[in-house]
């Protein structure tokens, strides 16, 4: 057995095409997932009973299910509902947003709940409105507390995007898979994919740790 490095180098442009899809899915998943997650967290903390219950049910349900099952749900159901095919990319994106939002919302919620009641009292006692207390006192602290966990979740999302393989999206893993299968070079291709994911996630985790130490309150 021999590792064919030039083979990998020759196919870097094709692999990069796949990586671009992976990165786009990750980025859109993070932005939309955090947006939906924030809405869910606000709903859950609103104190308005139907909203609280609905948000809690959503979060609990999505955290009980395998991401793969959600991808299949969306992949089969969304075209039925819309009346036209939407393709693997959008199916996967919708699944990631729905699924990750449940996790993001829990991170945001516990970040806000982690701020002691006394801080809210202090803000209110100084004459700030409830919204002002949230904005100037609770949220800045909550954001700092939750930032590391939020970033770790983003790294997890980046890794999870590899699951789009099952609906045939041409992401980084799929690109490597196609090239490797065609030329019987799966060892090089899977090895390279693992190496790239490892390096990216390892460095990102190191950066998160450093950030956490710097911004710890």
């Amino acid at each position: 057995m021999r590792i064919d490095i030039p083979f990998i180098v020759d196919h870097l442009p094709l692999l990069w095409q796949g990586m671009k899809v992976t990165l786009l899915l990750t980025l859109l998943g993070i932005v939309l997932g955090i947006a939906l997650g924030a809405l869910l967290a606000i709903a859950r903390l609103s104190g308005i009973r139907p909203l609280t219950v609905a948000a809690a049910a959503y979060v609990d349900l999505f955290r009980l299910l395998p991401l793969l099952l959600i991808i299949f749900w969306v992949y089969f159901l969304l075209p039925l509902w819309l009346g036209r095919p939407i393709g693997g990319f959008y199916s996967a994106l919708v699944s990631f947003v729905l699924y990750e939002a449940a996790y993001f919302s829990e991170i945001i919620r516990s970040g806000i709940l982690g701020i002691r009641r006394g801080q809210i009292n202090a803000g209110l006692a100084s004459g700030l409105s409830y919204a002002g207390t949230m904005r100037h006192i609770v949220l800045p602290q909550a954001l700092r507390n939750m930032l590391p966990v939020l970033l770790v979740q983003c790294i997890n999302l980046f890794k999870s995007t590899s699951l789009v393989y099952v609906v045939g999206v041409n992401d980084f893993l799929m690109a490597a898979d196609v090239i490797g299968t065609k030329d019987n070079r799966l060892i090089e291709m899977y090895g390279f994919v693992a190496l790239v994911y490892f390096t990216a996630c390892f460095l990102a985790s190191l950066a998160v740790n450093r950030l956490q130490r710097r911004y710890a309150l």
Binding site: N121, A122, A125, S126, L128, P140
Partner: protein, 242 residues
């Protein structure tokens, strides 16, 4: 200036305040004391509306606290409060802690607010720590910043909720000194505390609470020399023995 009239409060079914009535005149310093769980912290949190109450009324400078139409934020901006656990905002420096409300609530100019914050820090002996974060200050220093923060809103009255209970013995004095200076300047103050030394030096009146009731409400001298209720006598003998 502050009138508390027949205030009662329940948490679910348990009553935590029962028929509390007292008043504080302009420039008066009133110390509220009593065993833990007697409702004294809850009572002063009712004064600025941090805790709601179900019966009775509280008016501050003619404004009714319990009234739904009252803009609580506006009222709170005129009453300073100092907390047991300081509650400095950990993501802001001492100066930023002090200037936040003046800038955001009163719409003060930033430069002016900072200058005033520095003057207040000077007053509590903390000028050189203006740019420190709370985590880098001792408990006593944090509490002095918290006092400066409350003063920055030019309050008509100050509420102190056990301001020295969370402090090391050696830093209690620096906070009490700042409070005494404030009292001598004529500030209207309600102070929940166990520091009977402070009470005997600067209080005009002492309110003693037990089980959610105001058991004793008397001028300082009378309270210390001739407490009426057996509970207050027991409390005093326990506290003063230390």
């Amino acid at each position: 200036m502050i009138a508390i009239d027949k205030v009662s409060k329940w948490y679910g079914r348990t009553q935590v305040l029962a028929d509390c009535t007292t008043a504080v005149a302009r420039g008066e310093v009133v110390v509220v004391c009593g065993p833990s769980g007697s409702g004294k912290s809850t009572l002063i949190k009712c004064v600025n509306g941090l805790e709601p109450f179900q019966q009775g009324s509280i008016t501050v400078d003619g404004v009714s606290v319990g009234d739904k139409a009252t803009k609580l934020a506006k009222l709170r901006a005129r009453i300073g409060m100092v907390f047991q656990s300081f509650e400095l905002y950990p993501h802001m420096t001492a100066t930023e802690n002090i200037t936040l409300a003046p800038i955001k609530v009163l719409g003060r100019d930033r430069v002016e607010a900072v200058a005033r914050a520095h003057a207040l820090l000077e007053r509590v002996g903390m000028r050189e720590f203006a740019d420190r974060y709370p985590a880098n200050l001792s408990g006593g220093q944090q509490q002095r910043v918290a006092i400066a923060r409350a003063l920055a809103m030019e309050p008509i009255a100050m509420l102190f909720d056990e301001p020295t209970s969370a402090l090391d013995p050696e830093t209690i004095t620096e906070v009490l000194d700042a409070m005494m200076a404030l009292a001598q300047d004529g500030m209207t103050m309600i102070v929940v505390t166990h520091e009977m030394g402070f009470a005997s030096k600067v209080a005009h009146r002492v309110v003693f609470m037990d089980g959610g009731r105001i058991v004793e409400d008397a001028p300082k001298a009378e309270f210390f020399d001739r407490p009426h209720s057996p509970r207050a006598q027991a409390f005093l003998s326990k506290i003063l023995r230390h």
